[in-house]
């Protein structure tokens, strides 16, 4: 590892530490919650960008995978984690080591569902695929709504009745943004690598890609798998920062919101997804002073931005030359093919 990249990682850790300790000092808890929500929105948006923006498949059921991640990780924590944390004493270090586990659990369950949805659904193209993912997302949500072990229609609280003293919430900003950065890094490495050209080849022209030997079905399934994994992680983060989840948070309205993040940011731009997720999550809060008018202004802004910039805020550009995407040449080639 070169000195430059070590320095970057050091700077990143420093920034996360600053976020962790300074934000709660400088801001009231309400803003800290909003910051956490932005981090989660970024994670989810970037994960959806892989499927919608880079692979050109249109999924509008992403909230279903978030729901699976949220509920499975919450169940993991309530039915297993609480006992473990209780027996280990639940100190700071123990919690730090523990919390990746429910996140990974949520991610894996969502990835499995992604696979189950993707394999049959990817026979479909364009609008039909979009509609199928929408249906799959709603089916997942309603199925969870009917499972009593995770609260059903009452919603699911992250508190174990057997170990009421154990705190299962995890509201560390450094944790949330650490996961967001890891997600961006993972997906950037994936799509801006030589092999990542396959995703963009499928997006530009599936038939041409197929005829050049790109295993299109496998590429699409891979994209779905990775994307639903990170969506699940985002859902798990959501569950553990909020401490209470309800299937209403994961309806098709949420899926549409995620689609708005990637299209408004610019399909095929990770920084665009980050930017749009940040702006669109913060905007309703910034406009809160307007009271009832805020969601009206929000939707008007969404419409006008889309009309003024139909290609999205950033198009297919990246705002920063992402340091971890060393393959700049491949990126240019990808754009040249467009």
């Amino acid at each position: 590892m070169s000195g430059a990249s070590l320095a970057r990682i050091g700077a990143l850790l420093l920034a996360l530490a600053a976020l962790q300790w300074l934000a709660p000092l400088a801001l009231n808890p309400y803003y800290v919650t909003i910051l956490a929500r932005i981090g989660i929105a970024i994670t989810a948006a970037v994960s959806l960008q892989l499927v919608n923006g880079f692979t050109g498949q249109f999924s509008i059921g992403h909230a279903g995978f978030m729901a699976l991640g949220a509920y499975s990780s919450a169940a993991f924590s309530v039915y297993l984690g609480a006992a473990v944390l209780d027996s280990l004493g639940g100190g700071g270090l123990v919690r730090l080591v523990y919390f990746p586990f429910p996140l990974i659990c949520g991610g894996l369950v969502a990835a499995l569902a992604g696979l189950v949805v993707a394999v049959p659904a990817l026979r479909l193209r364009g609008d039909y695929l979009a509609i199928a993912t929408l249906g799959a997302g709603e089916i997942i949500r309603i199925a969870i709504l009917n499972i009593d072990a995770v609260g059903g229609a009452r919603g699911f609280s992250l508190a174990s009745s057997a170990y009421p003293s154990v705190d299962l919430r995890f509201d560390s900003l450094a944790g949330v943004y650490g996961v967001a950065v890891l997600t961006i890094a993972a997906i950037a490495r994936l799509v801006y690598s030589g092999g990542g050209l396959a995703f963009r080849a499928v997006r530009e022209d599936e038939i041409a890609a197929e005829s050049l030997g790109v295993p299109t079905t496998r590429v699409k399934v891979e994209a779905f798998l990775v994307s639903s994994f990170f969506a699940g992680v985002a859902g798990a983060l959501f569950a553990h920062t909020e401490g209470y989840i309800h299937t209403n948070s994961f309806s098709f309205v949420r899926s549409f919101e995620l689609v708005a993040f990637v299209v408004l940011g610019g399909l095929g731009s990770l920084s665009g997804a980050v930017l749009a997720a940040t702006v669109l999550t913060a905007l309703p809060e910034v406009l809160r002073g307007l009271g009832e008018w805020r969601m009206i202004l929000y939707s008007l802004l969404l419409i006008t931005t889309m009309i003024v910039r139909p290609q999205g805020l950033l198009g297919q550009r990246e705002l920063l030359p992402l340091p971890w995407s060393a393959h700049r040449g491949a990126r240019r080639a990808g754009r040249g093919a467009a």
Partner: protein
């Protein structure tokens, strides 16, 4: 058996409302290849404008058939204009800008109407005035047919008949079919594509408004968010019948209504919302173009 017949009747009534909404989705998809996610909100606006017209014109206090007809026509006019305005403002500027940008503006318009609705009409439910005194008109054994069910069915059928006439027999209908078949070629033949698209939105929105009024009659609780679920399910109905196909939307709507009612009646009401989506996924996997859609081939 009687119970089954009664359920079927209820299902067909409910399904004819889905069918009216589904027609708007399918026609717009036909001419623009756009899933107009704001359509459910047009249906909500139909119910709302019916509510206010009935109150302003005094029909809410004195129920009558004339009142119903006036309210129906008024709300169809309002929503026809609304549909044209939505198309003009949110979709036309994006013509030729790919297909995803208009999808997002559709979501934006949907959000806008929901929130403006909550601001203007208030977020709490309203009760649609009883424009018809509910009574039984017909009974065979245990199966009862109310005048409201009959009105819903007859109105829906009349409207669908009118639509079928417009689409198949008029100049506008021919232009609409031409645009749906091949828009650039239709433009070269002198079809005013923009005006046809506008007219399609007007027609679809008028049908959605009628659906809103009919729902108000049979299920009087209306609120600004009432368009979300029925909108989405009517869309499922359109896909079930074959998106882009007018008879498909009618059959799809009726089928979906019947299936939903049967599931609620005989299985469990908690799965009522899921069943529409299960049907959706199954139909997409086995017959993606729906019951009436023509399969497309991809040219290289």
């Amino acid at each position: 058996m009687e119970n089954l017949l009664q359920q079927l009747l209820n299902g067909v009534t409910w399904g004819s409302i889905y069918a009216l909404i589904a027609l708007g989705y399918t026609m717009v998809y036909g001419v623009l290849r756009l899933i107009n996610f704001a359509h459910g909100e047009v249906y909500m606006m139909g119910a709302m404008s019916g509510f206010y017209t009935a109150h302003w014109l005094g029909f809410a206090r004195a129920p009558s058939v004339t009142g119903l007809v006036v309210v129906l026509v008024a709300s169809m006019l309002v929503c026809g204009l609304l549909g044209a305005a939505i198309e003009r403002i949110a979709y036309r500027p994006l013509r030729g800008a790919g297909r995803l940008a208009p999808l997002i503006t559709a979501i934006g318009v949907s959000l806008l109407l929901q929130n403006a609705g909550q601001l203007v009409f208030g977020a709490d439910p309203k009760f649609f005035p009883p424009l018809l005194q509910s009574h039984e008109v017909f009974r065979a054994g245990e199966v009862a047919v109310s005048n409201i069910q009959l009105t819903v069915l007859v109105t829906a059928l009349l409207l669908m008949g009118a639509l079928e006439y417009i689409v198949q027999r008029t100049r506008f209908g021919r232009a609409m079919r031409a645009v749906s078949y091949d828009a650039p070629a239709a433009a070269l033949m002198g079809v005013p594509v923009d005006r046809v698209i506008s007219g399609t939105f007007v027609l679809g929105s008028m049908l959605a408004a009628a659906a809103g009024i009919l729902v108000g009659l049979s299920n009087p609780k209306i609120d600004p968010l009432m368009g979300l679920m029925p909108g989405l399910k009517a869309f499922v109905a359109a896909v079930l019948g074959g998106i882009g196909s007018v008879p498909g939307a009618m059959v799809g709507g009726l089928l979906l209504g019947v299936i939903e009612t049967l599931v609620t009646g005989y299985l469990s009401s908690t799965y009522r919302d899921a069943i529409a989506f299960v049907i959706l996924v199954v139909i997409l996997l086995f017959r993606p173009t729906g019951l009436f859609g023509a399969p497309t081939t991809e040219k290289v």
